[in-house]
């Protein structure tokens, strides 16, 4: 059987900086896979290549058997994506955000209203459906985004740091939701910094400086590393203790601008 996600000797560089270096990994159908790695290790670049936003400079990636370069549209339909920071229109209501998604993914016109309603229900946001997203808490936004990502019934879910910024209740709720999706056979690929969460995954892959440095079930990795009692020990043993500092990108500056009031400051 073809793997849900197959990455073969993929390479990507920004100028001289090699972000992803001859990386190969497979995520099997129905698997719950976590990608770990320090900041700047190449996780985001890998995710961008998976979601067809960035084109690999070498190697091949397929999602549900579709090539990310030549069969972009099929790959996009097969994927449900939840970004690290909310990708919602703050001035629109939850229902309006979902409606846009339904049209972008060409859900049948007759079923759109129902699809929006059931997505709101799934996210437990029926009461807040007609409120602008600006008034939502971080947890509500995340639930809304997860519900949105599932509207077009994707086969693979990509989650970039899904629990970052959530309170323990929000985290637990999200976790239960992801659990129920796994039970239905959904393939889930997520990146995370939270290593205790990663221990709940079927398999994890650790990326460092663009290379896959370890892959396997959490228990196997812990057993294979001397003196390791948790995934965190494995992670530190493999990637070292040095800090990874990046300078702020244009996006980071926009994000901090957003916190001051953003586009509403004129």
């Amino acid at each position: 059987m073809v793997a849900a996600i197959a990455v073969q000797s993929v390479r990507y560089n920004y100028g001289d900086h090699v972000a992803v270096d001859d990386l190969s990994l497979n995520v099997e159908n129905g698997e719950f896979f976590a990608i770990l790695g320090p900041n700047g290790a190449g996780k985001t670049t890998l995710l961008n290549m998976l979601m067809t936003v960035t084109r690999p400079r070498g190697g091949q990636i397929t999602v549900m058997g579709h090539d990310v370069v030549t069969q972009t549209e099929a790959v996009r339909r097969a994927l449900g994506v939840v970004f690290q920071d909310p990708a919602l229109d703050d001035r629109l209501t939850a229902a309006e955000n979902l409606e846009i998604h339904a049209v972008l993914y060409a859900l049948p016109k007759a079923g759109r209203r129902e699809a929006v309603r059931s997505a709101l229900e799934w996210a437990q946001l029926e009461q807040a459906g007609s409120k602008p997203v600006r008034s939502f808490s971080g947890g509500m936004k995340r639930r809304l985004e997860l519900a949105r990502a599932l509207m077009h019934k994707p086969s693979v879910l990509l989650l970039d740091e899904p629990t970052i910024g959530l309170d323990p209740q929000g985290r637990r709720h999200l976790w239960e939701r992801i659990g129920s999706l796994r039970a239905q056979g959904m393939t889930v690929l997520m990146t995370t910094h939270n290593l205790s969460e990663a221990e709940a995954c079927d398999r994890v892959g650790i990326i460092d400086r663009g290379k896959l440095v370890a892959i396997g079930a959490p228990a196997e990795l812990i057993a294979a590393t001397p003196e390791a009692s948790s995934l965190e020990d494995v992670f530190i043993a493999i990637t070292g203790k040095q800090l990874f500092d990046d300078s702020a990108s244009g996006r980071d500056r926009l994000l901090s601008f957003a916190k001051q009031g953003g586009e509403f400051t004129q």
């Binding site: 067809t52 936003v53 960035t54 001035r91 972008l104 060409a106 926009l254 994000l255 400051t265 004129q266």
Partner: protein, 290 residues
């Protein structure tokens, strides 16, 4: 790649999105009303007390098309510049990973920006009774059509600019760097040529007025002949907004200062050219990150 493709549903929903955003942003509507009052009523009647008339029109009447243009410039560029924001931290990120064709997404934004520009541009028209301009329903329809075409052109221009901006932390630079030069150098608030009547001036002798009329310059009262410095003339003639504004003034006041054929050519020729440019810029912007 999915960059080419027309999907009316996608165009429609992206248009609707812009309209919903506009409807919930009271500051934008407030801005249009306050600009109109400041420029048309306060400057128009204030400066109009000194400049009694421009070729037979009161100063407030003369700047009416200019104030409409100012509103169109503001709303179109505001809509277009939100692209930077949207691309980095907004909904557009999820649009980019969807199977929807980007051309349709861009067109939706373009038509959304143009529709908002038309609504914002129509606000000064509400002051027509105060200004004493006589207009027919056809005139209003014509003016709205020109505003829409201008809106397409300027939103497209804004998208071309926005697609090249890495970050965006305030509208001030756009306002001072793009909107105001385009506005001031378009013949919006001072005429390109003609006779301006000022306070305390002697009437023009009848024979001189006839001579001027033969040259295509109409003067009712007394006044002086405007002669702009050459560098301003050059800038005004180079500014495409001058022609769009001139056409608007022709439709609203039956008065124009530039050749009519040039007005039509620039107004209706520029919009599709810039729209294609905007679509290409969005494609380049996305390709660059690939």
């Amino acid at each position: 790649m999915n960059a080419l493709g027309l999907n009316p549903g996608v165009v429609g929903i992206m248009w609707k999105r812009e309209m919903l955003r506009y409807g919930r942003d009271r500051s934008q509507i407030f801005g249009a009303i306050s600009r109109t009052i400041l420029w048309l009523v306060i400057l128009g009647f204030g400066l109009g007390a000194a400049l009694r008339e421009i070729e037979g029109y009161s100063y407030a009447q003369y700047i009416l098309p200019g104030v409409i243009t100012l509103n169109v410039l503001f709303s179109s560029l505001q809509c277009a510049i939100s692209l930077v924001w949207d691309r980095e931290v907004g909904l557009l990120r999820s649009v980019i990973v969807s199977p929807a064709p980007m051309l349709s997404v861009t067109l939706g934004k373009l038509f959304g920006g143009a529709t908002i520009a038309t609504i914002q541009g129509a606000i000064p028209l509400l002051f027509i009774p105060v200004l004493g301009v006589r207009v027919s329903p056809q005139t209003i329809v014509g003016a709205l059509a020109i505003m829409f075409v201008m809106g397409v052109a300027i939103t497209a221009f804004g998208i071309i600019v926005a697609s090249r901006l890495k970050t965006f932390e305030g509208f001030g630079a756009i306002s001072n760097g793009i909107i105001q030069p385009l506005y001031f150098l378009s013949g919006s608030i001072f005429p390109l040529r003609g006779v301006i009547g000022g306070v305390g001036f002697l009437d023009i002798p009848a024979h001189l007025r006839d001579e001027l009329r033969q040259l295509g310059i109409f003067a009712i009262g007394g006044g002086w002949v405007v002669q702009l410095p050459v560098f301003i003339q050059v800038l005004v003639y180079m500014n495409p907004v001058s022609y769009q504004l001139d056409l608007l003034r022709y439709v609203l006041l039956d008065f124009q200062q530039l050749p009519l054929w040039a007005d039509f050519a620039v107004t209706f020729g520029l919009a599709p050219v810039l729209a294609v440019g905007a679509a290409a810029s969005v494609k380049t912007m996305l390709d660059k990150r690939r």
